[in-house]
């Protein structure tokens, strides 16, 4: 199968959906000639023209609000917020308008928009450009939240998100854009709300999101020769969450670690831990562990940044703690 990058996979999704349905259009900062600050929309202006690939002023509230206003009369805009950190400026439109308009209007409105954005640390982009804020959106009823980790997932999920009549927060990761992965030719969609077992295993369940999926997989490979068989589950969609896949895994392995790049406190790991503690308590043979970013703004210095966000060592340590394995090094 051909290998393409996460970025290319997203671009293909946008291109295919815009070809398929001319109510799909893009708006965002620097997405036209510049091709987007992470180059996801490169080439789309040339193909679809300035009507459908619209550079906006720096106006996150207007970008989201306008996308909503257009979707209410039948368009399918894909708005880009350059950094998830900037979603804070648009929060009224996202939380109070986009998420609620269907409900408040008694089911009549269709907020058929996708808000694409990216987050994550690892490039010394510092505190205001490196966050993972998915928990904000998962918390709000009315939004769907997707966080793909691979090119294959990114393409299939973005296509599905664009076709979904609900508003979707589509959260990419800045360090995943160049990552290559197998993506088939031809049309495919990945349904929202479906998790993926990225690596089956029998000793412990590790639920991981976004870039942390790759770190969890690396940890699993490191641990395999030690006889520890790690099952890695990627939820892919955070809301609606595929609860049954996670619960079935925990019933099997009886151990759970959740790995996510957001600040630990009240992140998606807290929700998953609560879910499992409530519905699979009898199966747990150890406490649940969250491996997440420390509760601090992301530092600029690369060493500090690497210290703060979860890395393979911390994931391994978490797994071993849950399994009750003490290395002579940790004792």
């Amino acid at each position: 199968m051909r290998q393409i990058s996460y970025r290319q996979a997203l671009q293909e999704a946008l291109r295919e959906e815009m070809q398929r349905d001319d109510s799909v259009f893009l708006l965002g900062e620097d997405i036209a000639e510049f091709g987007g600050s992470y180059k996801v929309t490169a080439g789309l202006l040339e193909e679809f023209g300035p009507e459908r690939v619209r550079n906006t002023p720096i106006s996150e509230a207007a970008i989201v609000g306008a996308a909503l206003g257009a979707s209410l009369v039948g368009m399918r805009p894909v708005a880009e917020l350059m950094y998830v950190d900037f979603s804070a400026i648009a929060m009224d439109q996202i939380v109070n308008q986009v998420a609620k308009v269907r409900y408040m209007f008694g089911g009549k409105a269709k907020a058929s928009l996708v808000i694409r954005t990216q987050g994550g640390a690892g490039r010394s982009s510092a505190a205001q450009h490196a966050q993972s804020l998915e928990a904000w959106f998962v918390h709000i009823p009315g939004l769907k939240v997707v966080q793909p980790s691979t090119p294959y997932d990114a393409k299939g999920l973005l296509k599905a998100a664009i076709r979904d009549d609900n508003p979707v927060m589509f959260l990419e990761h800045k360090l995943l854009y160049p990552v290559q992965g197998p993506v088939p030719e031809g049309e495919y969609l990945i349904p929202l709300g479906q998790a993926d077992v990225k690596r089956p295993g029998s000793d412990i369940t590790v639920v991981a999101t976004s870039r942390m999926v790759h770190r969890a997989l690396a940890a699993a490979e490191t641990l395999a020769p030690e006889g520890i068989d790690v099952e890695v589950i990627d939820p892919r969609t955070l809301n609606p969450l595929d609860e049954e896949t996670i619960l079935a895994s925990v019933r099997k392995t009886q151990h759970l670690v959740v790995v996510y790049e957001a600040y630990e406190r009240c992140g998606i790991g807290a929700e998953i831990a609560a879910l499992v503690a409530n519905q699979a308590i009898d199966f747990l043979d150890a406490p649940i562990e969250r491996v997440a970013a420390l509760n601090t703004p992301v530092p600029f210095n690369p060493k500090l940044e690497n210290y703060v966000i979860p890395n393979e060592e911390r994931i391994i340590a978490g797994i071993k703690r849950v399994l009750g394995i003490t290395d002579s090094a940790d004792a």
Partner: protein, 408 residues
């Protein structure tokens, strides 16, 4: 369409039942008519069946829990169906059921830990500081492993599944002589019998008197009439039926034996409800024939046969095993001559019937082979005395030996 399974009314006086064993787990598929759960009332254990096919969506009452008649104990729903429990249950019961339903028996929840980085955790209060994982706790409870005896090898020194499994294995190894062929829990009917026997033993001042009865005439009479009875009444009349008939009539003459001790009062009862013990695969059960003294022999035999069949099929209702005033138990078919039956508390007396055997008997001027049988009457000496009991036996013997009151 989600439906509620409710605690049924198994007998007129039943107010609550106890959940004994769930035969299905939450999330398991069930088919209509399949037994779902075993419940017990005072005396009767029975299975509740699934009223429709689907999934056992929620179990609302735990094993060992008492549930009022009419309250919901489970929900059956179609696969994938969303069930709104509070809407289904209605406000009064919804308040008692804590969502979401789960099979977990009541446990105190662990207090939040301070030293989380080291993976230490304060365990539930009821476990006296034992640190153990939920899965390990469940396993230990299921196998009767004492938690205090376990060494924990899990995170923070807590006991984990591995530790419990090792203890279970060790238990098996430690007592090689004790190979258990079968383990029968002291629940259900067996549990009830154990409880009742203990009660009888503890309270009844038991005395047993034995009398010999010449059953030759009864045997001959019965042999002559058996076919006729079957043709005329469609019923097979056994020796026990004949004896029961005689007992019922004799109790009219000896009402002191048809009595009950209750709240410091001896009640001599007007109505005679005769219990006839039946040995079933699960244990001894005593269905009751009401107003046995007012029934003709063939009717008594008919009821006795019907009740015995129901007893074997475990289909007796609560009313059919309640209200007895006197009990008969027959071990004669097993070759027993004389025995000391336990009084069926809180009744006054119980008659044990022994084997009918050909024995030599001294009659005037000769020795003859006669059909002899021993009747062993146990009675509660708090309620009546040896002489009245003896007189009852004498009257009974005379009735049987002279066939008086019998349809000839």
């Amino acid at each position: 369409m989600a439906t509620l399974i409710k605690m049924p009314q198994l007998g007129q006086t039943m107010e609550e039942g106890t959940i004994i064993t769930w035969l299905k787990r939450e999330g398991e598929g069930v088919t209509q008519g399949e037994p779902l759960v075993q419940i017990e009332t005072d005396k009767v254990v029975c299975d509740i069946e699934a009223s429709q096919s689907g999934l056992l969506h929620s179990i609302l009452a735990r094993e060992g829990e008492k549930v009022a008649v009419g309250n919901a104990i489970a929900v059956i729903a179609a696969a994938g169906e969303t069930v709104h429990l509070t809407a289904l249950l209605g406000p009064s019961q919804a308040a008692e059921v804590s969502p979401p339903p789960s099979l977990v028996r009541s446990q105190a929840t662990p207090a939040s830990d301070a030293a989380r980085q080291q993976g230490t955790n304060v365990g539930p209060a009821e476990a006296r500081e034992v640190r153990i994982s939920p899965a390990a706790r469940k396993l230990a409870r299921e196998h009767g492993i004492a938690l205090e005896a376990l060494q924990g090898t899990g995170p923070g020194g807590r006991i984990v599944v591995d530790d419990v499994e090792r203890a279970i294995a060790a238990q098996k190894v430690a007592a090689p002589q004790e190979r258990v062929l079968r383990t029968i829990p002291l629940t259900g009917l067996r549990g009830t019998i154990a409880q009742r026997m203990a009660q009888s033993w503890a309270h009844v001042a038991r005395v047993t008197e034995v009398i010999e009865v010449d059953m030759s005439d009864v045997v001959a009479w019965r042999r002559r009439r058996l076919i006729v009875w079957e043709r005329e009444y469609g019923v097979h009349i056994s020796l026990t039926d004949v004896i029961a008939f005689a007992v019922a009539q004799t109790l009219r003459d000896s009402p002191d034996l048809n009595a009950r001790l209750e709240n410091q009062e001896i009640k001599v009862l007007a109505d005679i409800h005769l219990g006839i013990a039946v040995a079933t695969g699960n244990g001894l059960i005593v269905p009751v024939i009401r107003h046995a003294d007012q029934l003709p022999l063939w009717e008594l035999a008919r009821q006795s046969a019907r009740l015995a069949e129901k007893a074997q099929e475990r289909k007796l209702t609560l009313d059919e095993v309640s209200g007895g005033t006197f009990t008969i138990t027959n071990l004669g078919t097993y070759g027993i001559e004389i025995f000391t039956p336990m009084v069926n508390y809180p009744q006054c007396a119980i008659l044990g019937v022994g084997r009918v055997a050909e024995r030599p008997v001294v009659l005037p001027g000769r020795i003859e082979a006669r059909s002899l049988m021993y009747l062993s009457l146990s009675f509660d000496h708090r309620i009546t005395d040896g002489a009245p009991a003896a007189m009852f036996l004498q009257r009974l013997k005379e009735r049987l030996e002279t066939l008086s009151d019998f349809p000839l």
